[in-house]
């Protein structure tokens, strides 16, 4: 099944929930009972239009305050593919939700209110999607109906955004501008007559046209071992299968592999998916691999192709997104979860904080607060096997866990 994951980003009142509601409505994904509930509530509130944001704002606090405060997942499908939208809130204080949403997405929609143009938060939204190397970005310039569908306004906003693009780090990101009105339904799913000067497609047309293989970043194959399957039954007495998910590239029967950290060599004997044998395990498939030789491999170890080793080190520098109210400072200790592997880590040095509006760095700080993005060096109690995030989205990322609270307190992208 073909699934495209999309993250949305926009500031308060940019109409993000309305846009999602509009997509659901125009793709006929809203069921009668949901639609009736929206109609009823819109009427109660005295609106003369349908408040589609009611379709997504799921928590009581959100409905009371009229804002979105946590990542919600929304599902719809077309004849072509299934879509999952991670609806992430746009407030300054909720950067962590945006990072979270972008981490699992292959595409992002950034909303801009045509009346306000590119604002400080737009910089942040673009910066985060660029930092997380989301391949496809749609810049939806919304509320065009409120600026008389003006081509000049659209072009001015586009030019401002292109200024930002010149400062980006991840240059292969594809960026598409679309003028829309979510409220009126212009250029969301259906084409509009209101903007004859715009020749491009609608948001949905654009998403439908994306090539899924091209939008999920490829790399070299990495196989982190999740679990060792040892049935110990009569029929499978000597079976030792290494269960895990294949990331970055393919693995095939007969490939010469190296197990990390032991660096023992072997060869792939069989690849199973359930009880079926396969010649090749493709990217993102959850398989079970057996090896020709009896070597010691356990959870947290990694199988890689011979001659294609990742960096093996007890120290690295990363860009991190800090997500906790307790500050991160040099000397603090955390658990680092890198894929399915866990190690103890100590903050060696906080180099600088990165201003998420692309305006530069701040070297004066030595501790990080909630929502800060910074360059940090960690020292580990044992080596991990990693790639740079720019080469491998999975093997170059990790999360930080506070061993007191057990909470996930940050995410990192290895340089």
């Amino acid at each position: 099944m073909d699934v495209l994951k999309i993250a949305t980003a926009g500031s308060v009142d940019d109409g993000k929930s309305t846009l999602i509601g509009r997509i659901l409505y125009d793709t006929k994904s809203l069921t009668t009972d949901k639609l009736e509930a929206i109609e009823k509530t819109s009427k109660q509130k005295g609106y003369d239009y349908l408040d589609f944001s009611l379709a997504t704002d799921g928590l009581v606090a959100e409905r009371e305050q009229g804002i979105t405060i946590d990542v919600a997942h929304i599902y719809f499908s077309t004849a072509k593919r299934s879509y999952i939208i991670a609806d992430t809130p746009g407030h300054v204080e909720y950067t962590r939700n945006m990072v979270t949403g972008a981490s699992t997405s292959q595409a992002a929609i950034i909303l801009i209110d045509a009346r306000k143009g590119v604002i400080e938060q737009t910089n942040r939204h673009f910066f985060i999607n660029n930092l997380l190397r989301v391949k496809e970005v749609v810049v939806a310039i919304n509320k065009m109906d409120l600026v008389d569908y003006s081509e000049e306004t659209y072009n001015a906003i586009k030019a401002d955004f292109e200024q930002l693009m010149s400062k980006r780090d991840y240059e292969n990101q594809n960026i598409t501008f679309i003028p829309v009105s979510a409220l009126k339904g212009d250029n969301v799913v259906n084409k509009t007559d209101a903007m004859p000067w715009y020749n491009g497609g609608t948001i949905l047309e654009h998403l439908e046209g994306l090539d899924l293989a091209a939008v999920s970043n490829a790399g070299t194959p990495r196989f982190p071992v999740q679990y060792v399957i040892r049935p110990k039954t009569d029929e499978f007495h000597d079976f030792r299968g290494f269960a895990g998910k294949v990331y970055g590239g393919e693995l095939s029967v007969g490939d010469n592999v190296v197990a990390l950290p032991s660096q023992t060599k072997s060869k792939i004997k069989e690849i199973y998916f359930n009880d079926e044998k396969f010649q090749t395990a493709s990217r993102r498939s959850s398989v079970t691999i057996t090896l020709e030789d009896e070597i010691n491999v356990s959870r947290g170890d990694m199988l890689v192709k011979e001659g294609d080793l990742p960096t093996i080190d007890k120290q690295f520098t990363a860009t991190i997104s800090w997500m906790d109210s307790q500050k991160l400072a040099a000397g603090n200790k955390y658990v680092i979860q890198h894929g399915v592997n866990k190690v103890l880590a100590k903050v060696d040095r906080v180099h600088h904080r990165i201003n998420p509006d692309y305006s530069g760095i701040d070297e004066s700080i030595d501790a990080l607060g909630m929502n800060d993005i910074a360059k940090v060096t960690f020292k580990l109690n044992k080596p991990i096997f990693f790639d740079a995030f720019k080469n491998h989205r999975t093997n170059g990322s990790f999360i930080l866990i506070d061993s007191q609270s057990n909470n996930t307190v940050g995410a990192g992208f290895i340089q």
Partner: protein
């Protein structure tokens, strides 16, 4: 031999989650209701660990008001697959005076299950409870994590959830806490049905069109049964119906249907304009019904 590229992205994700549960927790349990979602979970768990057996038991919190077809199906499945099944009864919680039976027109044992579940978690010291909830079912569930931490009282703190990045699932908890795990979080109702069709998974007969004694109330189709409160003026009629979702009899409404096999059910879901939980009487109580129940420790 072929390559695995044709396999379903959602299936791969679910298998990955099952393996994380087995690796990260000491005492996981799969919450089994006999409904299509939990039956799908069993199939996915089998695939995740083959050729080994599923490394954790199933547990059913039985309201005592289940459809007999569901219970019969449950017992047969467990026997055929050689699985371990734990059953805990809401009736026992009532007899022990821990919960009070509801009365009146909309009485149901559905919300009473929470107490029985929390007691069972404590009794067996389960640290991970795997459930078949899906984010597309309901607005509050749309915000649920794949690994969702519950405190000593089984409560869900929706404003203080752990962020889940990339594929990384953080299952670290303190003693007394447990994690609710939702491997099919990202599946839609149609995804589940399509999977059941493709995998030829057997499901209880009440999911298919059958003749049943029913009565109508509030535009919903209620089963005529000793477990369902009924007014004298609510007339019993016999119609062809089926169930889209299976909870206990007092909280599950039927739909009129002639879909008697899996392919017609899939077609019916595809064409449907009513959401699945539109037939759940428990959600109709208020706009925030699900969120409130979840905070108290519901599935």
């Amino acid at each position: 031999m072929k390559d695995t590229s044709h396999v379903n992205a959602l299936e791969n994700e679910a298998i990955y989650i099952f393996r994380e549960v087995a690796a990260q927790f000491e005492k996981p349990v799969l919450l089994f209701s006999g409904g299509k979602d939990s039956i799908t979970l069993v199939r996915l768990a089998q695939k995740a660990f083959w050729p080994a057996k599923i490394p954790f038991p199933l547990m059913h919190i039985d309201t005592g008001h289940n459809f007999p077809e569901t219970i019969e199906f449950r017992d047969r499945l467990v026997k055929e697959l050689g699985l371990e099944l734990i059953v805990r009864n809401v009736q026992d919680s009532i007899d022990q005076g821990k919960v009070k039976e509801e009365s009146g027109r909309y009485s149901s044992r559905n919300s009473l299950q929470t107490t029985t579940l929390l007691d069972a978690i404590e009794e067996f010291k389960f640290d991970a409870c795997i459930g078949g909830a899906r984010r597309d079912e309901e607005k509050a569930r749309a915000k649920e994590r794949i690994f969702s931490v519950r405190d000593d009282f089984g409560q869900w703190d929706e404003k203080n959830q752990r962020p889940e990045l990339f594929d990384m699932l953080n299952g670290q908890i303190e003693l007394g806490q447990n994690v609710r795990v939702f491997p099919i979080s990202n599946w839609t109702e149609l995804d589940v049905w399509s999977y059941i069709e493709k995998e030829e998974i057997e499901i209880p007969s009440i999911y298919f069109a059958h003749k049943r004694k029913i009565f109508l109330r509030d535009g919903l189709i209620w089963s005529h049964s000793e477990f369902v409160y009924q007014e004298d003026d609510e007339e019993v009629i016999e119609r062809m119906v089926r169930f889209r979702t299976v909870g206990d009899m007092s909280c599950t409404a039927a739909v009129f249907s002639d879909a008697a096999d899996i392919s017609s059910v899939v077609q019916e879901i595809r064409d449907s304009t009513i959401s699945e939980r539109g037939a759940r009487i428990d959600d109709k109580r208020s706009e925030a019904a699900m969120e409130k129940r979840k905070q108290q420790g519901y599935f």
